[in-house]
């Protein structure tokens, strides 16, 4: 998120509260839990790293909301580098996969039941995201982000369906043996 805050400063120097408002507008319901102080923590770290400078508006008392932040040359370079990066979040499925394998091996639980419970949880999340997406006003930038979350959940549900089929087959073969 540090990179995103830096990149937002590329447009123009800005107050912390203004950055936070822009973040929340882009994130919609996903930005709901961002507390007011967080942006200043991030900005302080960026300042310490020499990526932004902070100018206090003249003649005003020292308060965080009076400060204007701007990119340093190093900050500009970092933004340029960030834009060309192709990093992507890792799909984190190994843990659940190992849970199924371990549960089956030790006969701790029926993997098919574990898959079913996980599916219920993901469907509830899907419902939550979808309702949030439908509730967004027309033209909201956050809709596209919510759509991405929906599609990810759908992919995960499809993988769970594959898990269910595979582990059901294991069950059937065990019964036949």
């Amino acid at each position: 998120m540090q990179d995103a805050v830096l990149a937002m400063l590329a447009k123009e120097p800005s107050h912390g509260y203004h950055l936070r408002a822009r973040l929340q507008q882009s994130l919609g319901p996903l930005g709901a839990s961002m507390n007011p102080g967080q942006i200043y923590v991030t900005l302080a770290r960026l300042e310490k790293a020499g990526l932004v400078v902070c100018e206090r508006a003249d003649g005003l008392p020292e308060r965080p909301d009076r400060k204007v932040y701007a990119l340093t040359p190093a900050g500009q370079q970092r933004v340029a580098a960030w834009l060309t990066e192709v990093n992507w979040p890792k799909p984190d499925l190994a843990e659940f996969h190992l849970k199924l394998v371990a549960a089956a091996a030790a006969r701790l639980a029926d993997p098919v039941e574990l898959v079913a419970a996980q599916r219920r949880e993901l469907l509830r999340r899907l419902r939550e995201v979808q309702q949030a997406a439908l509730a967004e006003p027309a033209g909201s930038a956050a809709v596209l982000l919510l759509e991405g979350v929906v599609l990810r959940l759908q992919a995960d549900l499809r993988w769970l369906a594959a898990c269910e089929r595979a582990w059901s087959k294991v069950d059937d073969e065990a019964e036949d043996a």
Binding site: Q38, V41, A116, R120, L123, R124, V129, A132, L134, V150
Partner: protein, 246 residues
Amino acid sequence: MNVVNAAVRVHGLVKNHGRGQGRVRAVDEVDLEVPEGQTLAVMGPSGCGKSTLLHLLGGLERPSEGEVWLAGRRIDTLSERALARLRRRSVGFVFQAFHLVEELSAAENVELPALLAGRSRREARRRASLLLERVGLTGRARHLPSQLSGGQRQRIAIARALANEPLVVLADEPTGNLDTTATLDVLRIFEDLRSAGQTLVIVTHDERVAATADRLISMRDGMFVDDTRLAGTGTGWLGGLIGLEG
């Protein structure tokens, strides 16, 4: 015991297709109660019996065994004629292939069920115009179905299903023929119906459609294998997805 607030209730429901060796039990001793105002999604692989179940609920097919009740009235023992009348007045159907009358305009398609149920032309027209507005197609009232996109046709079909203020709307793969954008339009309408308290049963293979429902039943080989409550389980998960330090 008569459960007053169940819009739909089935008990010991069985439906066999075919005879002798080739006999298939499409629905296998199913019990179900859908309270008034609930939206229920039924999912399962093709051939699991979910469409047959929907047909049985709406009186389009008769069960081999068991009972079907709509709003406290047993319907599987009704005469053909009485059943047809009940379907017209109390059940709204939405199908994958829309099934609109191609020779009639969008508005006329929506008016038709009210006219068939014996309402005046004026009343039918008034209701149709309200419903077209509700599905966002007021501007398409005079178009023929062939002049509309798939998504628009399905929205017309949903408006038609609502024409007689049905006790229950039954939808069979309502987004099966639609692209993503059109699916979202239909989801928006289902969400609107859900919050308006319309009893709704949707058979679907699309998780997004299922996720609009309050409750989800999974079917395999004619039986229910899971019955999950989706509504009222919000965990605030969404708001926690993004932290500034993440």
